[in-house]
């Protein structure tokens, strides 16, 4: 499968589509709409009819990219066929070509944790995850991207994080969904230089970029990747830094404390400005 054009048909900047935005999305010339939407299949596969009509209308006007949260690619069990069938049907129905997941696991022995858990950074884990990725790609008939996750605990590691990611991309053939907020969060929690880390990644394999908000949690004394606050300045800086190096699309993830579309539009415009500046440099 040819990966060179992965995401090349998706241009500009994206936003995560949330049910809270639906009522404010219109298609007249004055209304705001991002260049593309990212949708989380787990939130939409079972959508009630009240949402589906609007969802279908949006899909006819604006490209969709899908980003999953429950495939659990680092799990000891392969993703269940029943779910993969539902996922494939969803992607096919809405003509979604691009699908991504995480470098993590969220279930073990098929029991869900509904949280992205850190995988041991070892060669054996790369092999196990690559197998799962190829299995998913064959089932879905699509190449997928995998996202560098934030982590608060480092399992026993024989490889550095960037070596692990680069080798996993190489062995699995997947692209990298680069979350620069996760890079920032991890760099603070685990004391490393985020720009040096970015430089060590195989940036040629990046399909697109995530940015999101984080906060410092007093109780656990760590930065938490919450997706529940506006994007922080440090993350904007890392986005700019990355876009100076590669020509890919960024998008904003917001999963908690969802603001109105009007509010998120302001953040989107900020991202667009950074993105356009990169384009003009190019």
């Amino acid at each position: 499968m040819d990966l060179t054009n992965f995401m090349k048909s998706i241009k500009g900047c994206g936003l995560g589509l949330r049910t809270e935005f639906l009522k404010d999305i219109h298609f007249d010339t004055k209304s705001f709409s991002p260049d593309w939407w990212e949708v989380t299949p787990e939130n939409w596969i079972d959508m009630p009819i009240w949402y589906r009509e609007k969802f279908e209308e949006i899909s006819e006007h604006t490209p969709f990219v899908a980003h999953g949260v429950s495939l659990s690619l680092g799990s000891n069990k392969r993703p269940k066929k029943k779910y993969l069938k539902e996922l494939k049907s969803f992607l096919d129905t809405y003509n979604i070509k691009y699908y991504s997941e995480h470098i993590s696991y969220s279930s073990y022995d098929n029991v869900q944790a509904h949280e992205l858990l850190p995988v041991p950074l070892t060669k054996k884990m790369i092999h196990l995850m690559s197998d799962n990725i190829k299995y998913v790609e064959d089932f879905l008939g699509r190449n997928i991207s995998i996202e560098n996750a934030s982590y608060y605990h480092a399992e026993s590691s024989k490889l550095t994080e960037s070596d692990f990611i680069n080798e996993l991309l190489h062995q699995s053939g997947a692209k990298l969904l680069l979350d620069v907020n996760n890079v920032y969060v991890n760099s603070i929690n685990h004391s490393y230089d985020p720009k040096k880390f970015l430089k060590s990644l195989d940036l040629d394999k990046v399909s697109y970029i995530h940015v999101a908000g984080h906060y410092f949690d007093e109780e656990v004394q760590m930065i938490i990747d919450s997706h529940g606050t506006p994007v922080n300045n440090e993350t904007w800086d890392l986005l700019q830094y990355t876009l100076d190096k590669i020509d890919v699309s960024p998008m904003i993830e917001r999963d908690n404390n969802i603001p109105t579309l009007k509010v998120i539009e302001k953040e989107y415009k900020k991202m667009k400005k950074i993105y356009d500046k990169r384009v003009s440099h190019g």
Partner: protein, 229 residues
Amino acid sequence: MDERKEQKSFIDQVKGKKKIQKSSIGVYKYLVHHSFFEVITNAYPEFYTIVKNKKLEKEFDKSIFKFMQKSALSPYIWKMPNEYRKFLKKTNYFKNLPYLQDLLYFEYSELFIFMQKNRLKKHYKFRMGNKYKLSKYASLKKYNYDVVNKVFNKKNQCFILGYFDNETDDVVYRPIDKLLYHFLKFIDKKESLKVNLRLFFKQNNLSYKEYAEVFKNVLNELYSKKVIV
């Protein structure tokens, strides 16, 4: 190094099966618990109010951890509350709340009704000669407590019909009488409503003449609400 053993040990700590060995693993225990807690308490607000009022928070937390260990199976997070309800049914948690299953079923039914996937059938004129059945998106249930009015200090058998009201864009619950409850359970699409009604009345030794008109009016209204389709 056995990666799978390490993952198993990690997840056992996160889900409260094993003692936390490092504070960084404790962060995940906090995050995972928080996510389950939020979803379950949002789906069951009345249940959680009772938990707080009766100071059952510790038991609630224990039940969540136990649930997390084996019974959260669906990748769809909106299905988690129902998985939790079914889990509680098989355990001894909250054994001093005899109305627990009634309450949880009632609260979950609102979510279930709201999540209906398909546009209900086009509306044709109601006829007793046509074949109808209860919509799969309606909730028809016999409760042992007055769940609608949240009266849990004494048993009070009631029959509740829940459905999505397209005029108010909201889930509606209405108490119905026992006869109508059993009739709605009884009807299928093998026979017309009229034939079903006659069969039902005969089986229950009821006078068709006496009740037919009342039933017809009620069923007509339920058809207009798409409770029978």
